[in-house]
Symmetry: C2
Subunit: 258 residues, 2 copies
DNA sequence: ACCTGAACACCGTTCAAGT
DNA sequence: ACCTGAACACCGTTCAAGT
């Protein structure tokens, strides 16, 4: 019987954007003191500076010169605040102003959208992780989705191809940014440069006898080139993957090209 | 001067696999009691059953009938344990036994590898999130990387194309599995079916007047078809994305195909 | 309307101590 | 070699109370 009382509490989907009152409040509503905007701004600043692991409601409150509990007047839960932070950085995405212009090249526009998405995620290394935890349907995120839809709609893929191609392209960028941010965070934590870190990892792997073959293959596949830096390698991979996906769209848009 | 003593502690990269003694210990070394294998196995079981958020060293210890501190004899830190759990599930990946066979079709093999990767990640919804947090260079993970390398090497892409194409394909699968696991976790938490949950989200978005246009576009792009279930839609997108990427490789492997 | 203090039920990890 | 108890320095969040 105790379980029955909890039943309804679990029923509501947990997201700021799905509550009755999403925080789309009018301007000039918060004259002084804290205010939601100020809280979200400080959240993004703290996340950028110290990372997701060190972020806490208590830490944020201290930053704002206030007790932790004050924050709960503006926000129901820490997760809600993080959702707001995610949409705040989604506002940095550069959207094409001619997404519906049929004379513009959808290839260039897709490259631009993928690149701005990557750049914003790399600028805020905590963002990729949060994208895997919170619902991403705030106003800025939706504006970005809308732009990607409108551009891809002009690629010549059919209606069912469009959503698949968007998944292919933007899940790739998301995965790419996630893994790259992971590596950068680990480098910072270890106090190593990215190249030193990669060298360290590669040395550790090469020591294990069962992986010498794999390492040779990696080297032959263009990984860990002695002359190029790790970041150059990642940029090269990103550019090639973009080419690959555009080529894939081109191959499928007219119909089977066998 | 106090800072100087901490300097070296931060110097080592934090990963089980990068410590001098990775846990590749001989068998029959742990006769009774706990044993690392038993701990990792219980970790995976608990993560599957209750999710990453509810997992704690104290909870795991209780499951094993032991105090939390006992675990620290086998493992340096919670993160190390999670790295071991990640590589344990990487052991479930189905590898082709003919990765080097030139008569085998690399297209089929790439599809197989991408699909087994997706399936394993979806079977363990906590795994995608951890892949964005821990270094993934355990023996099983390396064996998988090795297989992907060997197959892609036979695609006809040059050495620098190979790593880019692998990034394109497997970052996509990673992103896809992450976002899908996110949605399934939220459905469970809300006590809704996936279709009900999607309907709920779409209704909430459609209520916002500035997004009616976006929703129409989504509908026209094949999202949220009234007859198909959300899972069918996701499967369709995955299949199309796979086709797209294979077609992209085909277009680039011989050289520019303009 | 906005903010606080004390408290609850947790965390990961250290450290000295037991067997 | 293996396990424990007590303690430290944290968490997110609730709740009654202040202004």
């Amino acid at each position: 019987m105790a379980a029955a009382t909890n039943e309804r509490a679990e029923q509501r989907p947990h997201s700021v954007w799905l509550t009755g009152r999403p925080p789309l409040r009018r301007k000039a509503e918060q004259p002084a003191g804290l205010g939601l905007d100020k809280i979200v701004e400080a959240t993004v600043r703290l996340l950028d500076a110290e990372g997701l692991a060190k972020f806490s409601m208590r830490r944020l409150a201290a930053e704002l010169g206030v007790t932790a509990m004050s924050l709960y007047w503006y926000v129901d839960t820490k997760d809600d605040l993080l959702e707001l932070a995610v949409d705040a950085v989604a506002g940095e995405l550069a959207l094409p102003d001619d997404a519906d212009d049929d004379t513009a090249d959808w290839r260039d526009q897709l490259r631009g959208l993928a690149t701005t998405y990557r750049d914003v995620l790399l600028r805020h290394p905590w963002a990729p992780r949060l994208l895997g935890e919170v619902l991403n349907i705030g106003p800025h995120s939706m504006a970005f989705s809308s732009a990607t839809l409108r551009v891809m709609a002009r690629s010549g893929l059919g209606p069912d191809g469009t959503s698949g191609a968007l998944a292919s392209l933007f899940h790739f960028v998301y995965g790419f940014a996630t893994i790259r941010s992971l590596h950068e965070a680990r480098c910072r934590a270890a106090g190593l440069s990215i190249d030193d870190y990669f060298a360290h990892v590669i040395a550790a792997i090469s020591d294990r006898p069962d992986f010498t073959e794999t390492m040779e293959l990696s080297a032959r596949a263009g990984y860990a080139m002695p002359d190029a830096s790790a970041l150059d390698m990642l940029d090269r991979d990103f550019a090639f993957a973009l080419d690959l996906q555009i080529a894939g769209i081109d191959a499928l848009r007219a119909g089977r090209a066998d």
